[in-house]
């Protein structure tokens, strides 16, 4: 992917991923679940990553953070965070950079918090470790307040929080060290619509206030439309299309993107689409993905894996 290197040279990219491939053992051999994925995240932007279940979104996110565990394996690729290749870093250096430079809002917020530690202590933990000083109670209260949580939350245990509150705690924790990049893996997908909206707005608000660059993973096109500046579409481990959110929605190039867009029912449209058409589109899309075309420019800042 020659042009990816060129873009990273522009200097606006805080995170640039290139040629990333991850595989898991399957059957006798290995199955590549993230296949030659490359994209860049620019300063202060929110990049959406969409795709159906199993398309490799989380795996991509995890490999960016260097969290792929055996038997999974990153086969190739580089992850440059501000020009530093995280994959080349040793354990201790990588550890230091985690969270202070790149943080994570995990997919399963329900289970991602330590069940036997108070919420405040879990936030304090990162401050203590990375800044090598005690985290003041005030600072934690402020963090919690900034995501719209009451002060007393710090003294609660995770099981005493609702799903939305847990997700907010995760966001508060993710911004504690003011990292350059935050990866949010389906931060709202387990929540009720009303709560989802509130959490999504908090996320957007925090991102804009702190000027963080955020990768937001999700499968809900409608949500991406509301949050992301640019959107990348993944299918079967491949990034098939990436571009500004408007241009993706207005002029999707890849049939797979079109499929995803069609599948979203809307309260604004009176008409329902025929499933048969969806099926045809699907076949076409999958065939195209299987052909493994490289990303090619299809519009301004808009690329798709098409011939």
């Amino acid at each position: 992917m020659a042009d990816a290197t060129v873009t990273s040279a522009t200097g606006t990219a805080v995170l640039s991923v290139d040629g990333l491939s991850v595989s898991y053992p399957a059957g006798g051999g290995r199955r590549t679940v993230v296949d030659d994925v490359g994209f860049e995240l620019r300063r202060g932007e929110m990049l959406g990553l969409v795709g159906e279940s199993g398309s490799g979104k989380s795996t991509t996110a995890m490999s960016v953070l260097g969290l792929i565990k055996p038997p999974g394996r990153v086969d190739s690729g580089s992850v440059l965070l501000d020009g530093v290749d995280l994959r080349a870093l040793g354990g201790e250096q990588l550890r230091r950079r985690r969270w202070s430079e790149i943080s994570l809002v995990p997919q399963g917020a329900m289970s991602a918090l330590n069940p036997v530690m108070r919420v405040g202590a879990q936030i304090a933990d990162v401050i203590e470790v990375h800044e090598r000083r005690r985290a003041s109670g005030r600072r934690i209260d402020e963090l919690l307040a900034s995501v719209g949580l009451p002060v007393r939350t710090a003294r609660l245990y995770p099981h005493e929080l609702s799903g939305g509150m847990k997700q907010r705690v995760c966001i508060a924790m993710a911004i504690a060290l003011n990292p350059k990049v935050m990866v949010a893996d389906e931060p709202t997908s387990a929540l009720d619509v009303i709560v989802q909206k509130a959490v999504a707005e908090t996320l957007k608000d925090v991102q804009q206030r702190l000027g963080m660059a955020v990768v937001i993973i999700g499968h809900d096109m409608a949500l991406q439309a509301q949050l992301a500046d640019r959107v990348g579409v993944m299918c079967r481990g491949r990034l098939v299309e990436i571009g500004p959110v408007r241009s993706i929605f207005r002029s999707p190039a890849h049939p797979y993107t079109r499929l995803l867009l069609q599948a979203v029912p809307s309260l604004r449209q009176r008409e329902w689409y025929p499933a048969a058409a969806t099926q045809a589109l699907r076949d076409e899309a999958l065939a195209l993905v299987a052909a493994r075309h490289p990303l090619a420019e299809v519009g301004p800042d808009h690329k798709a894996a098409m011939p």
């Binding site: 279940s53 199993g54 989380s58 996110a61 792929i68 565990k69 038997p71 399963g108 079967r236 999958l286």
Partner: protein, 306 residues
């Protein structure tokens, strides 16, 4: 996972951990683990060998004063003779099967009764459940070994099978409790609801829908129950309780110990039965580890990755 399907399988709550390398729930289960094979080998080969050896060694070699007592291992007596002139090897050959028989009967009885009770109580809840829970909670509070000493002493001349059943009497509630807790989650599984929607009777749901799903779990309990029963039975025999009219390894060990084999340096008298028992226990342990891993794939992953 599906090979050529149209849609990638959606994971209901594709968790972070899953992405990071923890097994997905429906992996094909592996029965061919080296642990299992080694365990079964350790456990079963002495049994098979002893049964075969019966063709070569007559039972009269296990009689008192069949030979000179206390002779060291030699070509004539590979493991020497004991304090009463029995051939130690012959004694082992004739003790292995009954020892097994006892352990298996105890394990089987405890597991079968416990499983049945556990399924019924877990599926129906209500009075059956209250009873089973009550019994198992009480049993958990009772020191089984102490009670077994009492029962074995009071019962006087117990047969080997009798002893096994008495041991099972104390082990079934715990099996029932464990199975029950499995059933409690299983019964909430939608496939049970689907079965009810298909107008199936409770009995057929329990046997055909629940039980097959409990096979690995119950197998693990069974292996554990065998090992527990064996440990308890040998323990009882070591303090001189339990049947003396059937040759068992426990009896052989007790004979040797109480006759002073340790201090008289007659290692060949007590060590072989002790070693064989240890082999059994190790075999059972490996089997149970393997079965555990099959029942709980996470363990396997953790065991392997470096």
């Amino acid at each position: 996972m599906a090979e050529t399907d149209l849609t990638p399988v959606a994971s209901p709550a594709g968790t972070l951990a899953e992405a990071a390398g923890i097994a997905r729930p429906r992996e094909p289960r592996r029965w061919r683990s080296p642990q299992l094979v080694l365990g079964l080998l350790l456990f079963l080969s002495p049994l098979i060998l002893s049964l075969l050896a019966r063709l070569l060694v007559g039972q009269e070699d296990t009689e008192i004063f069949a030979f000179d007592p206390k002779t060291k291992p030699s070509a004539d007596h590979l493991l020497g003779t004991d304090g009463s002139g029995r051939d130690v090897l012959a004694v082992m050959i004739y003790s292995t099967a009954p020892t097994f028989q006892m352990a298996i009967v105890a394990g089987l009885a405890g597991t079968v009764v416990g499983t049945a009770a556990g399924i019924v109580s877990g599926y129906f809840r209500g009075p059956a459940d209250t009873a089973v829970r009550g019994i198992s909670d009480v049993m958990l509070g009772i020191p089984a070994f102490a009670m077994l000493i009492l029962v074995a002493a009071v019962m006087g001349d117990l047969s080997l099978i009798g002893l096994a059943l008495v041991i099972a009497l104390f082990s079934w509630p715990l099996v029932a409790r464990a199975v029950r807790s499995q059933v409690l989650t299983l019964r909430e599984q939608p496939f049970v609801t689907i079965s009810r929607l298909s107008n199936r009777s409770a009995a057929s749901i329990m046997t055909f829908e629940l039980l097959p799903n409990l096979v690995t779990f119950v197998t693990a309990m069974f292996v554990g129950a065998i090992s527990g029963a064996l440990a308890i039975a040998i323990g009882l025999q070591l303090i001189g309780l339990g049947p003396i009219d059937t040759q068992t390894l426990g009896l052989a060990l007790q004979n040797a110990l109480s006759a002073g084999a340790l201090s008289q340096g007659l290692w060949w008298w007590w060590l072989p039965p002790a070693a064989l028992l240890i082999l059994f226990f190790l075999g059972l342990f490996l089997v149970s580890l393997a079965v555990d891993e099959i029942a709980n794939p996470r363990l396997r992953k953790a065991g392997r990755n470096g």
